[in-house]
Amino acid sequence: MFEIVNREEMAQGTIVLNEIDAPRIARKAKPGQFVILQANEKGERIPLTMADVDPEKGTITIIYMIVGKSTKVFGSMQVGENYYAVIGPLGKATHIEKRGKVVCVGGGTGIAVLHPITRALKEAGNEVTTILGSRNKDLLILEDKMTSASHHLHICTDDGSRGHHGFVTDVLKDILAKEKIDLVVAIGPVPMMKFVSMITKEKGVETLVSLNPIMVDGTGMCGGCRVSVGGTTKFACVDGPEFDGHAVDYDELSKRLTAYQADEKISLEECKQNI
């Protein structure tokens, strides 16, 4: 049903790309939207953002980091194998319009999520500056694609093995000090989005972030994906996943992401033993 037609490994095998046959979804998907996938009948429902779609070919592309049992199982699937379930497109699409000068900030696999948005913002006539961050040069993904999706590109690594030695926020601060920026889009680990939002809030620059709480159905029926935005509760799967970065309660999100940590460890251990 949902056949893997292409598979690539990135970042020394820690990140995997799957191109999957899903014609109905490919026809409708827009930048910023996600799908929920299940590897097999016993599997979890895992949300992943679509990094690309090909409506003609009828395929969608996901790029994910192997972090636990489910992503490990995903990563072990080969071309020709099928996902048991792929559901989407889910969530609100990014509102793309001409704003002027836009800065896109991406970290980790957030870069994959950011790529279609960056490309669309450039196509909409914005002047796009991109800042990418990763732990070291080998873990950096999609550099080529992000280069062509942006006008200017900055790279930061924690260990200084490529580009700026330090955080994406350092580069962002420099840019905001020099130029008037109309919109910042930040997608990556929660702390990254939190600090980017703190900086842009001071400067009064509108900021969009994409949140990744724990999800089950992705259609608004479970409420597990609750996030606090501006003091009210939102369901990230239908009200988001993108929100006003200045209004998000990141600390609550970080805590909620630990809800099942003990069980996730059990799952991973059990799966390692079986491989």
């Binding site: 109905r24 979804i25 409708k28 299940q38 016993k42 599997g43 979890e44 429902r45 049992k69 489910s70 048991y84 379930a85 792929v86 559901i87 989407g88 497109p89 889910l90 089950v216 159905d217 259609t219 608004g220 029926m221 479970c222 409420g223 597990g224 609750r226 606090s228 509760t233 239908v238 609550e252 805590k255 909620r256 630990t258 809800a259 099942y260 069980d263 996730e264 059990i266 799952s267 059990e270």
Partner: protein, 470 residues
């Protein structure tokens, strides 16, 4: 005759064999074990075969109750099942989950003086017999009409529409958002109350009759209703249920440990988290569990928590015992299994620790005041009665709302002010040409049998439309 009647009244109502409470509250196997053929025949013989059967008045789909019971009394169990199917597509389900005490059994004449006939048990018996023995014949499918119908949602109402229309010769495709069919019957109602194999077998019958099923299709996202018309569908039935959870908007509601019943039950039932880690999806296992609400959903959550290993499970409800809306049998089973009812009590806020995990809940005592619009005495808070219940898991089961995902994508379907679809009560027609709706999406959360009844009326109306016109 008088003598015969008196004898019937003396025969006591059959007792359903059940797993013992202290055994079953640790497993997910079905609680009632079903009547034996002998028990069923004895129970069936209690029915007076009333000329004007009051029981039928109490059944929302007018099952021919004396008719099917007479067949059981005669030992013709398949005949009983066939009789049931005339009015009810899912008797194995309804026999288990209908609130019989306020429907068919509530009006049974024998109930006036003693115990009503156990209509639900008998319905379940006949349907189980026919399914397990595979002896009942499939209905005959009429000659193909060449018309195509899309059914959105595979809950009891969608399944009924699909079954009725395939038999009438139309092509039917069910579009279901989840990876499995059955709606609340699979994601909400637990295995220990309704084995999933029963739902699967009903769906398999539909497939044998020729119904197509497209799971993983969220209509409104994956495909829209207008696109379905463009793909050649002639009519659409919307049976998407009332799937949106309601929270109480209390401070601390986002602490880890506060869940909607939908999430808690979906993880456990649909995703089979009770078999974690064999199945990958985890579910929170609380030590001290509180369930807010007192309907069927709340009882299911409370009894699930017990089975997942809780030390204590409390149902906290703001009204009194008499107003608890769950089926009588569920309340009874819950109490037997060790669940405490804390009545006339309302939560006011939740407490948590520095890691964002739930540690307790503040409650207020209530007393019953003047009757409200529903005629029930309204609970009023007793000032200064706040106290704390320690708990590490709260399941909020205070109702559900319609999910706007589909209706937002279909602006030409008129909604009422609660977001439910407006549909003609007699036919199920919506304000959009070629589109019908029924079940919880129209009525708000109701019952399985009402959702099926709405499906049947809509199927008749859709058939008229496909053969005669709108």
């Amino acid at each position: 005759m008088v003598e015969k009647k008196a004898k019937k009244e003396q025969t006591p109502r059959s007792k359903m064999p059940e797993q013992a409470p202290e055994v079953r509250n640790k497993n997910f196997l079905e609680v009632p074990l079903g009547l034996t053929p002998e028990m069923a025949m004895t129970e069936a013989s209690r029915c007076l075969q009333c000329k004007k059967p009051a029981c039928v008045e109490g059944c929302p789909v007018s099952v021919d109750i004396p008719g099917f019971i007479a067949r059981i009394a005669d030992g013709d169990f398949n005949g009983a099942a066939v009789k049931l199917w005339e009015r009810n597509a899912l008797p194995a389900v309804c026999g288990r989950v209908c609130p019989q005490e306020i429907q068919c059994e509530g009006l049974c004449i024998l109930g006036k003086k003693g115990d009503s006939v156990a209509i639900g048990y008998l319905e379940r018996f006949a349907a189980d017999f026919a399914r397990e023995n595979g002896t009942a014949e499939l209905p005959k499918v009429a000659e193909k009409t060449g018309k195509k119908v899309a059914v959105i949602g595979s809950g009891p109402s969608g399944l009924t529409v699909a079954g009725d229309l395939i038999v009438k010769g139309h092509d039917v495709t069910i579009f279901e958002a989840f990876h499995q069919t059955g709606g609340v019957l699979v994601y909400g109602i637990p295995e220990f109350r309704l084995p999933k194999s029963i739902v699967a077998s009903e769906v398999a019958t539909l497939e044998k009759l020729g119904v197509n099923i497209e799971t993983n299709s969220v209509v409104g996202a994956t495909v829209t209703i207008d696109e379905l018309f463009e793909e050649g569908y002639d009519a659409v039935y919307v049976g998407v249920g009332a799937g949106l959870p309601r929270f109480m908007n209390l401070p601390g509601e986002n602490f880890i440990g506060v869940f909607s019943a939908n999430e808690y039950l979906t993880r456990t039932n649909l995703m089979k988290a009770y078999r974690f880690p064999e199945y990958d999806t985890p579910v929170a296992r609380g030590k001290n569990v509180v369930v807010l609400g007192a309907g069927n959903v709340a009882m299911d959550a409370a009894r699930t928590a017990m089975r997942l290993g809780a030390e204590s499970v409390k149902v906290v409800y703001r009204r009194s015992r008499a107003e608890m809306p769950a089926r009588a049998e569920e309340l009874h089973h819950a109490e037997e299994e060790g669940i405490e009812f804390i009545l006339l009590t309302n939560p006011t806020r939740f407490f948590g620790d520095e890691n964002g995990r739930l540690t307790g809940m503040e409650c207020l005592k209530m007393e019953l005041g003047e009757p409200d619009a529903s005629g029930r005495r309204r609970p009023v808070a007793v000032a200064g009665s706040e106290y704390t219940i320690e708990c590490d898991l709260v399941v909020v089961s205070v109702g559900a709302q319609p999910n706007p995902l589909l209706t937002n994508a279909t602006p030409d379907i008129t909604l009422n002010r609660w977001g439910n679809i407006e549909a003609d009560p007699a036919t199920g027609k919506t304000t959009k040409k070629g589109v019908w709706a029924g079940g919880d999406i129209v009525t708000g959360m109701a019952t399985v049998i009402l959702a099926m009844g709405a499906g049947r009326e809509a199927a008749d109306s859709i058939h008229d439309y496909l053969t005669l016109g709108w």
